[in-house]
């Protein structure tokens, strides 16, 4: 529609309104697609605007980690299972950066909006809690996938990725980003200060993404921690993605898939409930 015709339509609408003198309520279908898209768009623009921090920095950090671990350990570890150490390590690092970045996206967005007080800008518009959830979630997933993809690309210059099962790679990358984006929303809604958020990141997210099998096979852990790992969704995310790349994992594929789906479902319902009740958002 050209600008001129658009103007005419709007004018026609106004004339109509003036005619019967009652303002019309804007009608939505079952989903406010325009609102949902706008929120998603904002969430993506937020991190693209500072892409050196949100995209380039994580990729460089991942490359640094990869390089130092390879230099330090290549001749000292040999193979993990049947995979050479570099091939084992690379998918783990891809998942680590996905986990940390999708979490960072939703949590920092929520947090900043709350601190600066512009959270009302997403609470006021005619979008349902479900649409709000999906907008944030979409932003988090997008960041996770883009960073994961860039890290994979960057590392593929240094190591040969086997790509055993592309479906599994996509599935675990998506479900892991979604899980972390949802967790990020919960964290962002709960936290009252940047301090709280930094604490969650430093004391929960980073340790879990480090210790859940990024750098070693879970079978190297003491018995008791192996049992603990079986209840840790981060472990299934890392293990699943690694299975997708190299066809070798500590847990069966279907179990990992089931865990990821159920965790996402539960988190989704929790966040939805929080948004519906307005927990710590509406006072």
């Amino acid at each position: 529609m050209t600008e001129a015709t658009e103007r005419q339509v709007i004018d026609a609408d106004r004339v109509h309104r003036h005619a019967d003198m009652t303002p019309q309520v804007r009608q939505f279908g079952s989903v406010n697609w325009r609102g949902l898209w706008t929120l998603y768009h904002r969430e993506v623009k937020r991190f693209f605007k500072v892409f050196t921090q949100t995209l380039a920095a994580p990729v460089v950090t991942t490359l640094l980690f990869y390089t130092i671990f390879i230099i330090a350990l290549q001749n000292r570890v040999g193979t993990v299972g049947s995979a050479p150490f570099p091939v084992f390590l690379a998918p783990g690092l891809v998942m680590m950066t996905i986990l940390q970045n999708s979490f960072a996206n939703t949590s920092s967005s929520m947090m900043t909006s709350k601190i600066q007080g512009n959270i009302v800008d997403v609470l006021m518009p005619p979008i349902t809690p479900l649409e709000m959830l999906c907008g944030f979630l979409g932003g988090g997933i997008t960041r996770g996938i883009i960073v994961g993809l860039s890290a994979t690309l960057a590392m593929s210059f240094l190591v040969e990725f086997p790509f055993h099962n592309v479906g599994a790679i996509l599935f675990f990358a998506l479900t892991a980003s979604a899980m972390m984006a949802l967790l990020g929303m919960i964290g962002g809604i709960w936290a009252e200060k940047f301090d709280h958020m930094a604490a969650i990141t430093n004391f929960v997210v980073v340790p879990l993404s480090f210790l859940s099998g990024t750098f070693y096979s879970i079978s190297r852990l003491p018995e008791i921690w192996q049992v603990v790992a079986k209840f840790n969704p981060f472990f299934y995310a890392i293990d699943g993605l690694r299975y997708g790349f190299i066809g070798q994992g500590d847990a069966p594929f279907w179990l990992g898939a089931m865990v990821m789906i159920s965790v996402n479902l539960v988190l989704f319902l929790v966040v939805h409930r929080m948004l519906v009740t307005g927990y710590k958002l509406k006072s």
Binding site: V50, T52, Q53, A56, A57, V60, T61, L64, T67, I68, F69, I71, A72, L73, N75, R76, V77, D195, A198, A199, N202, F203, V206, P207, F210, L211, T214, F215, Y216, R220, L221
Partner: protein
């Protein structure tokens, strides 16, 4: 007191007199910088300790600890001093630069220019807070890492010397970066794209002989290498280069940064505009 009486009686303001140093001002400035770090101790003290423990656990689980060696030491004995160095240097980098950029974004950085503090005192105040903070974080990290490699430092004096001079070097670099940075983006970029690579390739996690032969000579051009090697000498008594040479390099680079930072504060680079 006499100043004030004079002011009341004579009705004429009199310039406050300082000796060679404005000690009170310097101490106040130092206290402010220390308080800033302490206020967020979870981020400045606890988080580095957690990160060091994470790295130690991850490396410890990935290798067979009883057999693997690095640079002539058992792997953990090699890694622990490296992790102490990383914590000290990261803290040093985050000290002055973060204060400066925070003040810049808040629009209160210009306040420094009107204080009765000379550029030398400002540099000294920042540097003093950096060294104190970094000595504290190294102690905390050292304690946190005791379960991985329990040993009393072999050369405690050398250890303190290298932590202090290394932190000064990075702390002064941090002042320069902070002055240069206009926004958070700038300082985060320096950290990720300059500081981290220098630290990660300084022999924190591996001895230089683990590097490809072609790169090895260049790795020695990295001044951070001499800090890390010195700290490792302090903890384990073993070093790749003579601690005297290492100490000399660290002091030289530190002095260079000191002069640059002093000069930048003196001309008010990106400060008075």
């Amino acid at each position: 007191m006499t100043d004030r009486t004079h002011l009341l009686l004579g009705g004429r303001p009199v310039a406050r007199k300082f000796g060679l140093f404005n000690w009170l001002g310097l101490a106040t400035f130092y206290r402010r910088e220390m308080a800033r770090g302490f206020k967020i101790w979870k981020i400045t003290l606890a988080a580095p300790a957690i990160r060091a423990v994470l790295f130690a656990s991850v490396f410890g689980l990935a290798i067979d600890q009883s057999t693997v060696t690095m640079g002539g030491l058992p792997f953990m004995a090699f890694l622990v001093p490296g992790l102490i160095a990383v914590a000290a240097l990261e803290r040093s980098f985050e000290s002055a630069a973060f204060s400066i950029v925070y003040d810049k974004t808040e629009g209160i950085f210009g306040d420094l220019a009107v204080l009765p503090l000379t550029p030398g005192e400002i540099v000294l105040g920042f540097a003093g807070a950096t060294v104190t903070g970094s000595l504290m974080v190294s102690t905390v990290v050292w304690i946190a890492l005791l379960p991985f490699d329990a040993r009393w430092p072999a050369e405690p004096l050398a250890l303190v010397f290298f932590v202090a001079v290394g932190s000064l070097m990075i702390g002064l670099f941090s002042q320069i970066s902070g002055l240069w940075a206009r926004k958070w983006d700038y300082i985060n970029s320096v950290q990720t794209f300059v500081f981290l690579p220098f630290v990660f390739f300084s022999g924190v996690f591996f001895a230089l002989d683990a590097l490809p032969v072609a790169i090895q000579p260049y790795a020695r051009l990295n001044p951070v290498f001499y800090i890390v090697d010195g700290i490792r000498f302090g903890v384990s008594g073993q070093a790749e280069v003579s601690p005297w040479l290492g100490g000399g390099v660290c002091l030289g680079v530190m002095l260079f940064f000191w002069v640059v930072s002093y000069r930048l504060f003196a001309i008010g680079y990106r400060m008075k505009s």
